[in-house]
Symmetry: C2
Subunit: 125 residues, 2 copies
DNA sequence: CCGGATCCTTGCCGATACTG
DNA sequence: CAGTATCGGCAAGGATCCGG
């Protein structure tokens, strides 16, 4: 029933890769994920420290995004079996690679700060 | 009434800049905006061409994000007063600068493709 | 061909409460 | 301290129509 004509295994692979790429992009290209990655940097931070570091993020969004980053292998989670529990997060190598590009985005923001501010004022008039 | 103690004009400026930076980040760090920027590249595309280029975007999201990019001075909109109307979009220089970093993000995705795929499978088990 | 406006659905996100 | 579960409000996003 769902059989498709003009379809090769290679084409199917390409579609799979495409949809995965899109999925990764959707995961990563969101405000909170990028801010968390930026906050982590080269450091190792606890959950509560991250919560303070990432201005305005809620408990829920933080856990949610941390799970997502862990799932994609961008961040690592280590639980120290003490009481009270101590959970630490750090970027993996791929995560640190991604951080490089996030850094560039931040630089970009600052470099074009006044251009953007001006453009907005003109547009809003 | 709303006067704050321990507040200098400099501190106020910093807070303004911070919130603006965050705002720009929120605008730009979203899936559709980045995909549009990537699709535009060095080219000039019509609305309808963009709609085909950016797989799965709706009419509404496209206009919405194009307005946003225009407002921030990242894209330029030119209307040719023909009938039927012809509207073209192209990246400004700041927009092309940002595109560089988006390109890097795409490269990153492909470079770590298998790592991510593997990590996901392990995590989902 | 483009884009604004409207209606309606979906799912994001915050708040809260409860476990280990 | 860290994480999960649940609920509810509200904004994001899709479908459609109309107007330039």
């Amino acid at each position: 029933m769902t059989k498709q004509v003009n379809d090769s295994p290679e084409a199917a692979d390409l579609r799979r890769a495409d949809s995965l790429a899109r999925e990764i992009f959707s995961d990563v290209a969101n405000k909170w994920a990028l801010l968390i990655i930026e906050a982590l940097g080269e450091r190792t931070l606890r959950f509560s420290e991250l919560r303070e570091e990432v201005e305005g993020i809620s408990h829920k969004m933080l856990t949610q995004n941390l799970r997502m980053l862990e799932r994609n292998g961008l961040a690592e989670r280590t639980v120290h079996p003490t009481v009270p529990p101590r959970v630490e997060y750090t970027l993996t190598q791929p995560g640190r690679d991604l951080r490089e590009t996030v850094d560039r985005m931040c630089e970009w923001t600052h470099r074009h700060f006044s251009h953007i501010e001006d453009s907005r004022q003109r547009f809003d008039a």
